[in-house]
Symmetry: C2
Subunit: 183 residues, 2 copies
């Protein structure tokens, strides 16, 4: 039987700041909270990733009120909080070594934002050899303006990100599907 | 003065196989070849990344005729060829240590395919702290069918991938702009 960690990425208050644009999927936090409650109830390991920006303009710059996790997913003492400064939860943290030391070879990933920190973490997780799952409806993305000026909605960005992740990097499931599978 | 490496990702014959779908940007190889000629002419370092698939169905499985590089970018003896088995050119290779040992802090990335191995390599390059550039018109993508059945064209996939890369991970330039900048 594999051990499966829930990795929650950057579910922080500052991500609500309009600085980031217009978001899709208002249910992301509720679904992430459902995952977290299930992981706690079943005694499976949970890791919280927390972004600390190096950009003083960012709502996630250290010391700003946006840095703490959202109340739906407030970490408890037994759950490691790994702080990072780039998109990937595997760079500048001990996430990989922590997972391997705890014999964890499967991870379920959810959080904010789909195309940035979630996707980068998920791509690396799959490429590092972890059996990787994405809870797509426990993620959300902001709109994105491309270098050619095209404005993609948060939903378009999210949906393409999920398609890319599903194509090569992870198994994409809904929160309901994750809850039924990892019991 | 920074040293800038050209990193060419998976420009291999097997990527022409219909197994991968329908591609955009038929000029990608010509533009990659222009970059390569310029890097050789100016004595700047070049790294070739070569994918060896672990999937026997893949045209890039070891021993298949699709594994060698395309003739436009055939490596020469002085240029390292780093073989990988996952999307990221930084995982399972010595790319990061090679760049750091050679005092290289800037990289220009191009190759195949935009949203898979190029994007994963580019995301990691930026996150690892390299000053990272993407030559967008020396890359190409195949169409992609999402988990909801939506078929995105190669051009849609490529364009969104470039937008994501430009938003957080690298400076996106055309081949002409790269040639003018890294002289």
């Amino acid at each position: 039987m594999s051990t499966t960690a829930l990795v929650l990425v950057d579910i922080q208050q500052g991500l609500d700041d309009p600085w980031y644009g217009v978001r899709n999927n208002p249910d992301a936090e509720t679904n992430a909270s459902r995952l977290l409650s299930h992981w706690r109830a079943t005694g499976q390991p949970v890791v919280h990733i927390q972004h600390l920006s190096t950009n003083p303009e960012s709502p996630l710059f250290p010391g700003k009120p946006g840095v703490p996790h959202k109340p739906e997913v407030t970490p408890i003492d037994s759950e490691p909080v790994m702080q990072k400064h780039v998109n990937s939860g595997f760079i500048g943290t001990n996430l990989e070594s922590w997972l391997r030391e705890h014999g964890i070879d499967q991870v379920v990933i959810a959080g904010l934002t789909t195309n940035h920190c979630v996707e980068t973490t998920t791509r690396m997780s799959g490429n590092l050899g972890f059996d990787t799952y994405l809870a797509h409806d426990a993620c959300a993305a902001h709109n994105l303006v491309g270098p050619d000026g095209t404005n993609y909605t948060g939903e378009q960005v999210h949906t393409m990100s999920v398609a890319n992740i599903a194509s090569e990097f992870a198994t994409v499931l809904s929160t309901d599907e994750v809850l039924a599978r990892f019991v």
